[in-house]
Subunit: 491 residues, 2 copies
């Protein structure tokens, strides 16, 4: 480490070159070590609320500190006290795992700090995004003609779809006049299943459609939107003076990964002239596996589709893919080009900031380019296929054990299930409590982190397999931990 004793008077400039180079190698070692020994950490740290905050000074330092000390504080205070999303025992929520090549693409991107707002200020970054977006479209088996962009999150991708769909409503100029500008047009109404993600509700809130402007359509016994109920709701709403404008079909819901019938919903949307937005943020990854693609039949008719490579495609957070049928629908809804952003090549290029909320945009295409090339499309498909296979094995074990039951089908690699001792009549409320106790016990082992949900009112344990470093040994260990916890939870 370079001598820093000369820094009592602030020196100007950036970190000196030689010091950066040395520090960069130290950080490279640190991250390589972390990935190598991540399983030596408990997935969920033992830290209590306030612990980390209490260990940090309340005031920022006035003087410069040596890099060595900062890195050492990182090692003792931050690394052990995070929840380890990279740990193969992290089976909660949906996977969000950064693969090696993805991490290295992100590092290069941080070094360049390329801000992909306009072609002129990010030529290679813009064109690489165009290429990678089209690669992803092909990987998903979607037809040519679908265009798109990368955003940060599915929350934002779906928000953009809300705004574009709203802008496309005939007779309403929401962009210019807002939603209260034409009292003669009935209130807007969007539709999604009762199992849709909370980001859809947020889209309704943010865009001024309001929660009551989002009608939740009932689901069938397998938690899929019922198209007959959708058709009925639209007809009822039209009769009552609403203006239906948007349907969100979820392919892989957050609770149970249910698959709304995209084909039947698309037919309704076409008949009713409604915008169809497909939320496949998690499950879209499975469309990379050729034999799983039939599960998505019909999504190719959507006006917009969101899929998050940062979920089950091993891409460092953040990276969400928003595909759209008509790029102009997004550009018309969002484009604002003040004088200071005009360039001489605007007519010939894509300026991505015209298609969404954010003007500044990270260079996300680089990590995807690294990762897709490093693993290859077949390699990515093989990993996703393997996760589904492991989930299938666990599903078979649950089904074969009379003391356990699955609470939803397992079309992908996420399982919802519970412990229900055979031959005993136990009240639902008691089952909920016992399964919550099992969850706590498994999570306290430090070897696994599972989450939960509720399905048809029942408390469900939830396991989602999606880490490329996860093997059958992790699945075996988790099943064992669950059965041990269930034994202990017996009254």
């Amino acid at each position: 480490m370079a001598d820093r004793s000369d820094r009592s008077t602030p020196r100007l400039g950036d970190m000196p070159s030689a010091e950066f180079r040395e520090a960069a190698h130290r950080v490279a070692e640190r991250v390589a070590d972390y990935l190598e020994r991540v399983e030596s950490y408990p997935v969920l740290p033992a830290v209590q609320p306030g612990d980390v905050r209490a260990a940090l000074p309340g005031e920022p330092p006035r003087g410069a500190e040596p890099f060595e000390r900062i890195l050492s504080d990182y090692a003792s205070l931050v690394e052990p006290n995070i929840t380890h999303w990279q740990h193969p025992g992290f089976l909660a929520y949906f996977p969000s795992v950064a693969s090696g090549p993805g991490i290295l693409g992100e590092w290069l991107s941080a070094g360049l700090n390329s801000n992909v707002m306009l072609w002129r200020n990010a030529p290679a970054s813009t064109e690489l995004e165009q290429v990678v977006v089209d690669w992803l479209r092909q990987m998903l088996g979607l037809p040519a003609g679908l265009d798109g962009m990368l955003t940060d999150t599915a929350s934002v991708s779906s928000l953009l779809a809300f705004v574009a769909a709203r802008h496309a409503v005939p007779g309403l100029d929401a962009r210019e006049e807002g939603l209260a500008g034409r009292p003669t047009i009935g209130r807007l109404r969007a539709y999604a299943s009762t199992e849709a993600h909370s980001s859809i509700d947020k889209g309704a809130i943010v865009t001024g459609v309001g929660c009551s402007g989002l009608r939740k359509i009932p689901v069938d016994a397998e938690f899929r939107m019922r198209p007959d109920e959708l058709g009925r709701a639209i007809a009822e709403d039209r009769a009552a003076g609403w203006t239906p404008f948007l349907v969100v079909a979820t392919l892989g819901t957050t609770s149970s990964t249910a698959i709304d019938p995209a084909g039947a919903i698309a037919t309704i949307c076409e008949r009713e002239r409604l915008w169809l937005h497909v939320d496949a943020a998690y499950a879209g990854a499975a469309a990379i596996v050729p034999e799983m693609r039939p599960l998505f039949a019909g999504w190719e008719h959507a006006q917009s589709i969101v899929f998050n490579p940062h979920k089950w495609m091993f891409t460092p957070f953040d990276a969400s893919l928003l595909l759209f049928r008509e790029a102009a629908a997004f550009r018309d809804a969002f484009s604002l080009v003040p004088e200071y952003l005009r360039t001489s090549v605007d007519a010939d290029v894509r300026n991505y900031s015209e298609y969404g909320v954010q003007l500044g945009r990270r260079f996300r295409a680089l990590k995807l380019w690294f990762e897709i090339r490093y693993f290859g499309v077949d390699g990515i498909a093989a990993r996703i296929r393997e996760h589904c296979r492991m989930a299938g094995v666990l599903a078979e074990r649950i089904d074969a054990d009379p003391d356990w039951e699955r609470l939803a089908p397992t079309p992908f690699a996420t399982l919802c299930f519970r412990h229900r001792p055979a031959g005993a009549a136990i009240a639902e409320a008691e089952l909920d409590l016992r399964n919550a106790a099992i969850l706590d016990a498994v999570n306290r082992t430090g070897r696994f982190f599972l989450s939960h949900t509720r399905l048809a009112g029942r408390y469900a344990l939830r396991v989602s397999i999606g880490n490329p470093r996860a093997t059958m040994a992790h699945v075996d260990g988790c099943w064992e931990a669950l059965r041990d916890a269930a034994k202990a939870a017996r009254p």
Copy 2:
């Protein structure tokens, strides 16, 4: 590089440990080299639209490729064909420069892949964000009691302020009922100066307020919002049945870095009970310099403030600070906690995803923690002070040269000016063309990248100094290049 010949059949797992370690060191070298030799690149690459795309395969590779080849393609195809935001000759737009310690913080963050949605799944990351947000508040000289969070961009920070302000409108439940739900309440109206950033217009569009729901207030000769005009507009709108709800004061506008009179505007907002949002995305950095803080007087009365550390505080993109007076106003507007996100500690912790649009959130606090500690608050202030000093020197040269004129005051480190040959009567349209030619000529040198704007209808050259690696030699070189270009542009 490890032998990859065994990969014709896809191997599962992530990149092997030893290979990752070796590749990480190569990337560390690559980034250190890039930062060391960034000035050997032309700031604006010579690449033409379509060049990069044409050099890339239209289809994604089915098989795995060696990391070495990917890195080599990065070196030949990406690095030379981006616009170099890190180059000290990049004087366009506003600075967005990633410092050494910031880059290394970002690298560690990519390794952890900590998703800061809830405390439970990101304990240290959440608490470090709380600490860093409060450090930043103190650095800006703002009073205790202002709380806040990190977002990706000012576009999103201001959007969140729009939604929270809208939710606070008495008698309107925008969250539940949307904007068309209460026809008895007049249309919402927000106010910003004619010089406000396009993200404010986007906020109006996205939230359903509409462009016509944003009234642009005239500015004075120095491009500052006129409080008298603001007061008059509000009174006029109330009389006409509008519902005023939000005023955006810009401290450091994008074109000329004009400073709206925050104190006078705050007084009006208090009297009229309107939400005051301060957009100091760029200039906020100057409030870290104690003697510059008076320029911001009055902003402490705002309900929300946005400042972007990724602009003039050397932080890798992205990092925007949103400060708010009432955290509850944001939580009430946005919070949605589905069953699968509930945890046992929710009552004791901050769950940041409840305060905005995005559920998934990057771990941005780490790079800020690294950077603030490495430079120290005094060190950051010293760099910003030096940028202002250099801008002051350039302003003096422009003022002293009869052939040049400044078109706006220079309160920070951004200058707007033009060439206007002394003693010649040249039409405004002709001056515009000549200055556009000067801009092109300077940018074609490859040594500098300047941008332009329009001020009171006049084409203005624009120079923004904010790279910690920039020195007086760069400013001298830029001034020389401008004068050379002006000579050549003479008819």
